[in-house]
Symmetry: C2
Subunit: 336 residues, 2 copies
Amino acid sequence: MTQTPDTNLQIRLAARPKGLPQESDFQFVEEPIPQPGEGQVLVKNLYLSLDPAMRGWMNDRKSYVPPIGIGEVMRGLTVGEVVESRLPGFAPGDLVSGIFGWQRYAVARAKDLSRIPPGIPPTVALGPLGMTGLTAYFGLLEVGQLKANETVLVSGAAGAVGSIVGQIAKIKGCRAVGIAGTDDKCRWLTEDLGFDAIINYKTAKDLHEEIRRTCPKGIDVYFDNVGGEILDTALRSLTFHARVVICGAISTYNATEPPKGPANYLALLVQRARMEGFLVMDFHARYPEAQAELGRWLAEGKLHYREDVVEGLENAPKALLRLFDGSNAGKLMVRI
Amino acid sequence: MTQTPDTNLQIRLAARPKGLPQESDFQFVEEPIPQPGEGQVLVKNLYLSLDPAMRGWMNDRKSYVPPIGIGEVMRGLTVGEVVESRLPGFAPGDLVSGIFGWQRYAVARAKDLSRIPPGIPPTVALGPLGMTGLTAYFGLLEVGQLKANETVLVSGAAGAVGSIVGQIAKIKGCRAVGIAGTDDKCRWLTEDLGFDAIINYKTAKDLHEEIRRTCPKGIDVYFDNVGGEILDTALRSLTFHARVVICGAISTYNATEPPKGPANYLALLVQRARMEGFLVMDFHARYPEAQAELGRWLAEGKLHYREDVVEGLENAPKALLRLFDGSNAGKLMVRI
């Protein structure tokens, strides 16, 4: 029997942030625990994934999903446990994941639920076998169309997605070069994860020269998590028919001025290259094959990951900021 | 017998332009007519194609071709007539095209020569059945992956390439919307060429609103010849899985400040869209199939074009500027 507290703590969006989110942009609310209706389950959230994209959802701006409304529960991917079921096929104790939000409890229907196979720890289901691993996998292999012996450059390389991108590149027989922001991260990526080279963009005197030095044959696939100057500089080193994979642009999410675009985009013409954006959910139908392959690599010890788990749902707002100052070490999540 | 003047007038690059090219950036030289060696022909140039890309070749900057060197003959595509042949298979009177430069005569080897089939006028071989027609064809159909019932937006719509892009879109059963810079051009495109709508970007109060009005279902393929603000604005109206075809960026070629990049490039992520550059010569092996189809459309009266022919090689430098002030009406070329 799972012990359930009396109330459903929710964190709602109180105001749209200007720049970095403030405590006052969030509102803490205690609600009665919801009752599942016919065809629904009650999920007790165990872990909440914190992701850079959340910052975008807080803006009042049309995107691939609607903005979070003022007064609505913050959107977020979680792993939880079914504690009450009125849905055939699901029973108390089942581990599931879904967009269940920044709250202790949620009710969900079949279409909102993904079952976590037995033997997968909840945090791994949010990390290398979940959204972040799948994003790296499909972004690099499908959108990036990686081929053997190519050079991959990935920004945000120490992030949950970036660190897996580089490791998949190595598994596929490619040169993996990363861009990160601290010497600690750089060491972890080269010494523990097998990246061929890492550039610390905060201490590099000339990023373009550093890219030339570490990618002497040019960049075949640039996997971009950060946007801004780093994207613009990477464009200068593309190879013929290179692919630029737009996964995110964390450097711009808290900008209060309109961001500058990549002035060097004409490299796409000179090199007959392609820049393409994607969202992992477009590959939903193919998750099982990817999870099978990612799972095999994990089991074989070819894929490493770090988790950065913050205790307590009430600490989620502050923890979110660590994505933007680069102080998280690995996949950031909250234990609820 | 073709009458040959005594000397070979050449126009060479004298200095690298800053901004718009000046007369002083060119040098006129009279040279002896060159003698073809074994395996070569002597070509008398008849028409010189003037193209926006020439401006880029005048910069001292690595691109898809080396810069034109100071003192070198200006690079340019021409149609000419073989006047002397030491190359089996070519005889005086044969019409050929190639990168024979801004000069009256050139010697060329087999690999530099394209034969113009009988019955094709020389100017058509530079226009709809030549580089410009082929650029429109492969850019729209191959890079743009156009499908029936889609909406195509093309900038530089009254240009040699843009006007054919819109007509091919119509032939393929699509909605064709153009962006041009004078009311005369707009009328020609809708009344004579069958574009569904045209936006005059110089008089439009709000380009974004005009794009929304003329492309109510959004832009499936944006064929960009101009870059700058127009590209950036078009990105805001992409559909899901849209394709942005980067053919050129004429608005930036004479810029003396570094151009701004497309700040709205994250539309590629939101819409899972693609931006891709290309050069027509990459499709060299497939020119015959495209020329056959373009030729059939011409014969059937489905494809219209305008030529803007300037008399006299000595007028080429001044004529080139007309590409950048938008005063050319149709495919610009020089009769030598």
